[in-house]
Symmetry: D2
Subunit: 496 residues, 4 copies
């Protein structure tokens, strides 16, 4: 994921692995889905797909590598996607494997059952997918993709239930992990979230009888849809003929939404859990200014993802805010390096220091997170080369010390700076005058939990910071991953 | 031109028509040129070209439509561009004519003379090009492009001078208008600016004996070159074997640099006339806050071009700064509109209002300029739809009332809002609670002229605001364009 | 299929639907498969695919629309297909459905079973595919393509046999119709033909321990392989570690090879059933000259498919042979018709009459077959326009009156000229002076059956001429197709 | 040029360098030109261009690499080429320089003169182009291409004549060598041939008032145009408003048409000098059978270019004709060679021997010409590998011993087999049982000169066989080319 107000070295960030959108009861639903996916492009840029249905032509689909704007705007593509019902998916390319991603790994996935076809789009990660796949193959299922999400459609194909929503419940009860799923039959649009509601999903209304499902509210804004409510953790909604039916297939549950959506993944103009993401990020800056004040001349964001927190830090601290780093909007990674070595050419392709503003100043540099730390060093180098007197790094999230297994692409633990160094070692390694992360409690306060984190029953999934996994990562444990000793919630669940 | 910190509705802005770059005395000069043009991409996105020379292969060239990053990064293109000497050009597509732009209109242009070849890259506009072309065709020259710049190379071909720099002087003395030109022979890199120095051109040093010429200093930064100085108005520099020779082919002159480069065209991280462009823009915001204060709750830029002035306005006024409008970084213009009309869909593809921040607030909206005014209305609509209590528009330039004939793409006069309405009519037409432009003197103060504009001898070309054209636009006058009655400088010159 | 020595209006011919090739025991087997498929390109031009296996990288595949020479020659494609074992498939586009053909319909198909993966390439048609598909879906299989051939891999996935060759036998015993299949596991190359051996399949040896399977012997020639023998009707061969194991999974059977392969599908330089295809076609011309002699000045083939029979006719009749029709080797179907109507422009794009040769002559025009008859009329028009005195049409096959259901693309019965007219009506409708088809017995004599067709036990499948279907077309009968009353063999089988 | 009935190893043939076509007085002339160029595609496959004019849009042009059928069939290209007047050009890629061919080398060339624009398409070669180019550059002309033909348009631009046809006469009088030129102004279509008429050009009529000019009559046939006559050697025709005006700008002259057009370049269905090309080629076979009879079992052409002569040889000798070599219609040059060497893989991609026909036979192999001789060896190898008892090579042209400088791509003299070996050495080097070329007189008889070649005043240009150059090749002589001592015609002219 390259989020809205993204970080310029997005390859050194955590990434959401997808965005999903569905529409029913509108003319040419695929146009709505294309716009919705465009608004969700920050959640996945590698590829996208749309499936539609109309009574005359049945199901139709298109799956393409590349941006939504480059594919799902072409009349020759869109004209093959007629009908009042459509779902779509944008997908993130997990680092380094793009060469191996086939177009058949691109969702939505489709299955023809004897009661009719069904397409699904999945955001999240199934933590027992390897085990399920093994079992399904033994029983004669043929997998077409390397995607974990394909398990769901095979489990549905083998269900003995008579209708598709019931088959979907059957299937999802077998599945562990985090998922928000949008599905469609010939006449129904279905949305469902796992019991903890780790990944987001919202419902909106458009026009007379039209309904849409989307990962974030910003995708409602682009089509002028009205935001109705979130699909709740553990809820399934089935939308048909202008009506929404709700059920709770997984029993009662308390949500533990992914707190990193607030920090980096979601667009700042989205509303999550009733809160403005922009305001939350600005508030993290305020918390940071309180927790880690410093005497300085300039608060400067690492653009664009550090901007809201930098504004908050400046406002709380009274230090002037300024654009010390300018981002090249045309990007470009692959220039041939001139024969005489240019120091940090990779950085220069994306950023340039506003030397006249920085020179001689004590700079508070605000960034959203530190993952590997390599880009933090490069940015610090640029700032110092431009003549900054001091550099104080302020990070709008706690140290990222644990991988995510719930639909986010994270490096292995041994690549995470915070998993391998103390805060002071990190400061020294990066080479700055001071380095501070917002505290976990500070982050919880910024998202509106005045008391901070509830240790016995955390309000959010914060496993990447705390190592406290709310769902035991089955396949990972089989592969040898070792959880934190005494990690509260997950151990409980693993013991069940 | 889609400048750095560009406006989201760039089609409703004025546009620079090109960026130029040259390098000599370095290994694989084309790699430097590619990087330099990438840094200047905001000055022209339609197409680009590079010409190189090396003793073994002679002159080689590549001209391509599209971004530098998509063409001049490919090994199969770059490997055809060897040698220690190269120049390049990026070109802006003048509105609506793209379909007719042929690849042969893409610069640099090349001519084979009997003393050897010469390539030129031109930024600016020749105001007597039509007359020159007519004369050259009568004498047997065959034009290959529809570009005014091609006159220069034909005038050079017919010069009786024995070397190329002298032929270039011959040619440019016949040419009226604004130009910064970078040229190359087999062994020399040449830079020249017209007597008024309307368009920018700077010299830098890289490595041991390498020199570069560029439209802006930001293109020196990307390759780690040292900024030496500007080429002066009316100066020609000829660089060869590590030496720079300077001459003044057009006699003595006082520069009148384009003031709009400060307002919008140049990158904020460039240094022009010894001043930081970012700081100038922030200072315009300060001037605006002094000239047009208002009681409000939030200062919000139209991203990204209004941001520096908005920061200045907020700092001077004490009103909090906030990101009330979020720009979609994936853009996209061509989506198929869903059958049910979406109000202002074009706007929504690029921007979304940060509703939670705006709702109920009195908003100061800071934009860089008003050209046609159509996008100002749309943005105002979005802000009001999101529940703003009041909208106060503050514009970081004076009213744009006259077309530019010196290398900037401007609409005809009857399309310029300020040429057809009083400020109050504009306010009403746009539909905001108040509307203020920075004064011409305020703008001059922001660029460092403490006394404001010198009426008898203006320090800058500000014809787009004042109608005071420093060079009479010969071809345009022939076509019936009517200058402002009593316009100071141009009338003088036209009378000569 | 656009066969070797193809007809210029190939869209008015019957078409083979594919060609298959496999190689084992050679370095970079995919290169052999690419060459083999290139030699078999006449059997299918729409798309092609190759699957390979090597111990290090496992299974790899590439599927592409277009010619073999345009896809499987590129290093970036071929380098992804390593290993000593590979199979491939070229596919014909059935008329008018190309728009709907997805890349997932392109073979080979692949299935991952718990004992390892398997890829299959199928030439032929499964006559009970619709029924099998229905049953498999009910049991939870998810089909990915619209291809009948996919049934085979799902039947294999559900087999309880422990190894892949046995699973394949299980699957193919459930399948009705005509098939030649090449399959591969991680270590084995498998070839199998249905009990009647309707579609061809041959075995060859290359290098030390290398073996290949191919639709025709011409594909052995291109790689310099030695022709060993045909896979026999009802035989399965499993090739591994330099050894061929043979078995007969479908019990004893007498072959009924497709006689149309001799008439048009196969390449003239292939050897089928021990006979040269070229010589057979020349011999058909000889038979025609005996059965339907005529006084004339010139024997002229419809190029290129009518050429061998025309040579035979000329040699037997003593009438001079000449190229009265010249074929445009650059083809082209989509030219924009000039505003003034050009009569028969479609024909002119492909053919031109050699007017100087034709004018004033009595011409014997030799063509391979008549399907719809529309192109026969156009060619006759051209010949007469060029001034021929008489036109005598001689057809190197009996009247094509019945559709094929065994892997050949045929128009519906009501589109077949011979199904709807008597020979005399056809002569009049085409508008020629005489029209003769070779007799069914004459055709059998030309393929070496001195006694002609054995009515009680025909030596070949000749259903397209006789309506005598050796396998009842189950799905077609369900859809309402009515077989010929009293059709000998098929009725028997249908009654079983 | 890859001619009609082309040779499979066309890279070892001589090649025509272009085909030209023009149309006036028809609706959408570009559609006619596209069809005409398609019919002339055998004269040049690398690239093509079309220029049109209509009163509303002025001149428009499109130049593209690749086949006519792939470019000038697209509505988005053709819709940019409106108007009743158009000319076009197809161009051959001279061996090995394709990488350096720029799109600006693709004709027609266009020049804007002060009395209006003019486009020209040139077939032939200017033998003093280098000298003319030098002179024009010294006087200030800027060349845009590396093509010799561009001289013509620059000479025209500098002419002091008041109209374009007169300027063209001025220009062509300065030009030496062979040329057929089609040109257009805003209202006129112009055709002209050099005084010797080396290259072909014909006039036809289409519709009411439409006229066309074309390299060959086959291009008239495709659009249903009536063949009026050839443009005569030394004639200029100017067609406007339904009238043809003729003039003779170069004084009286006797034609010396290129005899190789009959042997290989022209399409067999074209009429040249009142003779059918097909019939001439068949007649060459007859002459060969008389001059070089042999006892054999089979006459076999090297397809497709040897076919008419082989038919003639068979008919005259009484030896049966048969297709011993089958050509792969899908071609392909770039397959990756399997790791185990395949002998003669290059040959196998294009040809396969019809082994069943060849084995044990004494074969007369008929080919059109021998250039380097390398492919003759390979084909002989294939025939012998297939078991032929004897191979007798019969060549339908005299030994090719001299390069052509009149618009044909020929290897240097030291690469021409016949320039470096005696006939007997050639036979041995190729490795055949006998080798015979038709005699020069035999060739003249086949083209209708009953008395053979007129030594004192040859009827044709046959320099490639005789070394007798009708125009001294000025640039070549400067570069050191040595003509045959005592060569009749050219020496005379060189002495002038």
């Amino acid at each position: 994921m390259q989020p809205f107000l993204a970080h310029p070295f997005d390859s050194d960030r955590l990434h959401e692995e997808c965005g999903i959108f569905g529409a029913i009861g509108v003319l040419d639903a695929s146009n709505f889905v294309a716009l919705g996916l465009h608004a969700l492009q920050h959640r996945g840029q590698e590829a996208g797909g749309i499936v539609t249905h109309d009574p005359e032509h049945g199901f139709n689909s298109a799956h393409r590598f590349g941006y939504v704007r480059d594919n799902f705007t072409k009349p020759d593509v869109m004209s093959t996607l007629p009908g009042p019902l459509a779902i779509g998916h944008v997908r993130y390319s997990t680092t380094g494997t793009k060469a191996n991603t086939a177009i058949r790994d691109v969702q939505p996935f489709f299955g023809e059952f004897h009661m009719g076809g069904c397409a699904i789009a999945h955001n999240g990660n199934i933590t027992n997918a390897a085990a399920l796949r093994r079992e399904l193959i033994e029983r004669g299922s043929i997998f077409q993709s390397s995607s974990d999400s394909e398990c769901i459609i095979h489990l549905m194909a083998r269900s003995i239930q008579r209708n598709i929503p019931e088959r979907m419940k059957d299937a999802l009860r077998r599945v562990e992990g985090a998922f928000s799923v949008i599905a469609m039959t010939r006449t129904k649009l279905i949305g469902v979230r796992d019991a903890l509601g780790v990944r987001p999903l919202v419902v909106g209304r458009v026009g007379e009888d039209g309904y849409v499902l989307a990962s974030e509210t910003c995708a409602l804004d682009i089509i002028g849809a009205e935001f109705l409510r979130e699909v709740e953790p553990g809820e399934m909604v089935v939308i048909s003929k202008g009506k929404i039916e709700s059920s709770r297939p997984f029993g009662p549950s308390t949500g533990r939404f992914c707190i990193f959506e607030h920090v980096y993944f979601s667009r700042p103009d989205s509303i999550i859990g009733g809160r403005s993401v922009y305001e939350t990020r600005r508030q993290i800056g305020v918390e940071l200014a309180r927790e880690a004040p410093v005497e300085a001349d300039l608060v400067c964001p690492v653009p664009d993802s550090g901007t809201p927190a930098a504004i908050g830090y400046a406002q709380e601290s009274g230090i002037p805010y300024g654009m010390g780093i300018i981002r090249n909007q045309y990007m470009g990674r692959t220039f041939i390096e001139p024969s005489e070595q240019i120091r940090n050419m990779g950085v220069r392709l994306k950023l340039n220091v506003n030397r006249a503003l920085i020179a001689g100043k004590r700079v508070v540099l605000v960034d959203d997170s530190v993952v590997r730390g390599t880009t933090s060093r490069k940015i610090k180098d640029m700032i110092l080369d431009a003549g900054a007197a001091e550099v104080h790094f302020r990070i709008a999230s706690p140290p990222t010390a644990w991988p995510c297994f719930y639909g986010v692409d994270t490096p292995d633990r041994d690549k995470l700076l915070a998993a391998n160094m103390t805060p002071d070692e990190m400061r020294e390694w990066i080479g700055v005058d001071s380095l501070s992360f917002v505290s976990l409690d500070g982050l919880y306060r910024a998202v509106g939990e005045a008391e901070g984190r509830n240790k016995s029953c955390p309000q959010y999934c914060d496993a990447c910071f705390s190592g406290d996994y709310p769902v035991a990562p089955f396949d990972q444990l089989e592969r040898g991953f070792r959880m934190k000793v005494g990690s509260e919630t997950a151990v409980k669940q693993a013991a069940e």
